[in-house]
Every structure is written in structure tokens, then in C-alpha cells.
Amino acid sequence: MTALEFSLILFVSSIAAGLLGALSGLGGGVVIVPVLTILFHVDIHYAIGASLVSVIATSSGAAAAYVREGFSNIRVGMFLEIATTLGALLGAWLTTRVPTHSIGFIFGLVLLYSAYASLKQRHDALTRKPDPLALRLKLEGSFPSDQCGQQSYVAQRVPAGFGLMTVAGTLSGLLGIGSGAVKVIAMDQAMRLPFKVSTTTSNFMIGVTAAASAGLYLHSGYLAPALVFPVMLGVLAGSLIGSRLLVKAQVRTLKVVFALVIVALGIEMIVNSLRGTL
């Protein structure tokens, strides 16, 4: 295969991965790493390098749209970014220590969990007593609500949220993904922030988290320019198209189909890791 053919195939596959990532709400990274490692036999270090860079691009590209909606909370995001960036440094360092098949195995588990999380119905929890720490850190806000104008909220269980965010950051750095699913759990389940606030703030945080591991990836030589270029441009294009389609598409049926694809990729990653063929 020539360099041109290889780049074109990668570009088209990356558009598909970006589309799938945007429409399923899982992000492009979760899809592109298995595609590169299983389909194209790319070593996982190069794969997570290309993926992480694509994650920064899609997160930053989508942020402008989220800002306009007025749901994201920069204080909550910035405070929790201390946890995610520290986790990301740890995760990126672990990639230089942990054997390839273990990274693949953990990746497979995260895929299976993500598929499950993407299908689970979300309900905004009832507001309970706010955490005094949240008040001191000003982890509060309001967002435009359909029923009653501005709806206000205060974060709860801040230490639990901070801890989970460290885990999200570590997974991001170790697997080259945005780990939006874990970030949303931290804000939605632990800190009881409204779901819309959690998802948009999570997207906002993904770029900064990924930038923290990107420096270490760069210095460790995981960023192969000729591989990254079709992947990053493809995932970015795919996710931009995907977020436009999302407004019109019938989400529920699509989500089930995508979840099955993700489960298949997850099982494939785990099997390949156990066989040592990854």
C-alpha cells in the first residue's frame, strides 16, 4: 500500500470514527484507538498519540457551540481540571511503564463500560444540602430552564467528585481518550450537578485534560506526524458533521446500534490483549 492510499483509508475511517463518537456521545477517541490497533495493526502507543490529539481538536472545536447555550460552568471546570490534569500526567507516565497488552485490556473494559453508560437513562437528582466546601469554592451557578426561567444549583460531595476526576484524568492519559463518560459520572452522579451542566462542562474540560498528557506523549515520541495527520483531520471533520446531524437524528435507535459496535470493539480489544496479538 502506498503512503497516499494508506492516508486516504485512514482519513475515511477517522471520519467514520468521529461521526460515531459524536452521535453516540462517547467521543472520537474511544472509537479510533480500536480501529487503528485492530484494523490497521498500529502499535497502541502510536494509536493513543493520534487519538489524544484528535480529542483535543474535537473538544475545542465543539466548545464554541456549547458556550453559546450557557450551560457550562467555568469555575466547576477549572477547579476539577486540577484533578484531571494531575491524573493525566500520571496516566501518560504509566503508558511508558505498563505493558501494551495491559493498556489494551483496560481499554476494552472502558469500552464496555462506556457502551453501558451511553444507554443508561439519566435523571437529574433532587437537590439536597449543599456541600460547604462547594460554597467556599463557588461551585454553583444557574442555567436557562424550560419550566421556570433560571434554575440554580450547588455542587455536592466535592471530594468524591474530585477523586473521580483524578481517575478520569488518569484514564485519559493512559488510553489517549477524552474519558467524557467518567467525567460526567463525577459531576452528574457524585456532585449532583444538572445533567446538561455536567455534559457541557465535561466537554469543556476534555481539551485541557488531554493537553496535559499531550506534552508527555510528544516528548515520549508517540506523535507520528504522517499517521496523526489523516486521523486528526478525519476525526475532527467526522465529529463536526456528527454534531450537526445530532440535532435532526432519531437518537435512541442510533444509540443502541452504536453501543453494540462499541461492545464488539471492546470484546475484540480484550481478546486481542489476552492473546498477546495487540
Binding site: S7, F40, S59, S60, A64, K138, G207, G215, L218
Partner: protein
């Protein structure tokens, strides 16, 4: 409550949104330029990525990448685009520090500064 010219979170976020979009579009344009140049120069078989050997120093150090860009090396131009991309969220945090400073929120100036320090550590301190 707030006069239209006062600094508030919404205003910071609007600026941040513009910054992020501009950064990504610039990065994508540079990566695309380098990529087209790369494909124009490389007609041979595809590179093999099935075994990991860390990329050579010309793609892992800032000064080497800039040197490569100066001599129009296609892959160095792609790497420059990636550096612009990685710098975008870093610039976002720096912009938030400025915003919180204008708001007079010292606590969040400090919190943002910690995040910025972690990012700069990752970019500049390595073996």
C-alpha cells in the same frame, strides 16, 4: 446586576469559545498543509507503525520541530500544527486567569494558575 461592559463568567466563556475555535482551525490548516506536502513528496510504500520505536528527536523537541519547519520539512509542518493544537487549551487557561483577574476573583486566579503550571510542566519539563 452586571453592566454590559463588566467582566463576568459569560463574557469570559464567549472569548474562550472564540479562542478555541480559532486555535483549532489554525492547527487544522497547518496540519493539512503539511499533510498535502508530505503526500506530494512520498510516493513510496506506507510507513509501518506495527512496532513502537519512539519518534526521532526532530519530532519530539520544540527547537528541532521549528528548525524542520524553517527548511519546509512536511512532517515538521504537521508537528507545528499539532503544537498549535496543544497550545490552544493552554491559552484557554491563561485567558481564564486574565478573566478572573478582571473579575477580582483571587481564589480562581490561583486555581487557574495551578492548572496552567501543571500544563506547562508537561510541555517543558522532560528527561
Amino acid at each position: 446586576m452586571n453592566s454590559p461592559t463588566a467582566w463576568n463568567d459569560q463574557r469570559i466563556e464567549t472569548w474562550v469559545g472564540v479562542l478555541l475555535r480559532t486555535g483549532v482551525m489554525m492547527a487544522a490548516a497547518i496540519v493539512l498543509t503539511g499533510g498535502i506536502l508530505y503526500l506530494a513528496q512520498n510516493h513510496g510504500p506506507r510507513a509501518d507503525y506495527s512496532h513502537f520505536h519512539a519518534e526521532p528527536q526532530r519530532f519530539t523537541h520544540f527547537s528541532s520541530i521549528l528548525h524542520g519547519v524553517a527548511i519546509f520539512n512536511a512532517e515538521s509542518i504537521i508537528m507545528l500544527g499539532l503544537l498549535v493544537l496543544i497550545a490552544t487549551p493552554v491559552a484557554r487557561v491563561a485567558m481564564c486567569i486574565a478573566g478572573f483577574l478582571f473579575e477580582g476573583d483571587r481564589l480562581y486566579v490561583a486555581i487557574s494558575a495551578v492548572v496552567l503550571a501543571i500544563l506547562l510542566y508537561s510541555l517543558f519539563f522532560h528527561k
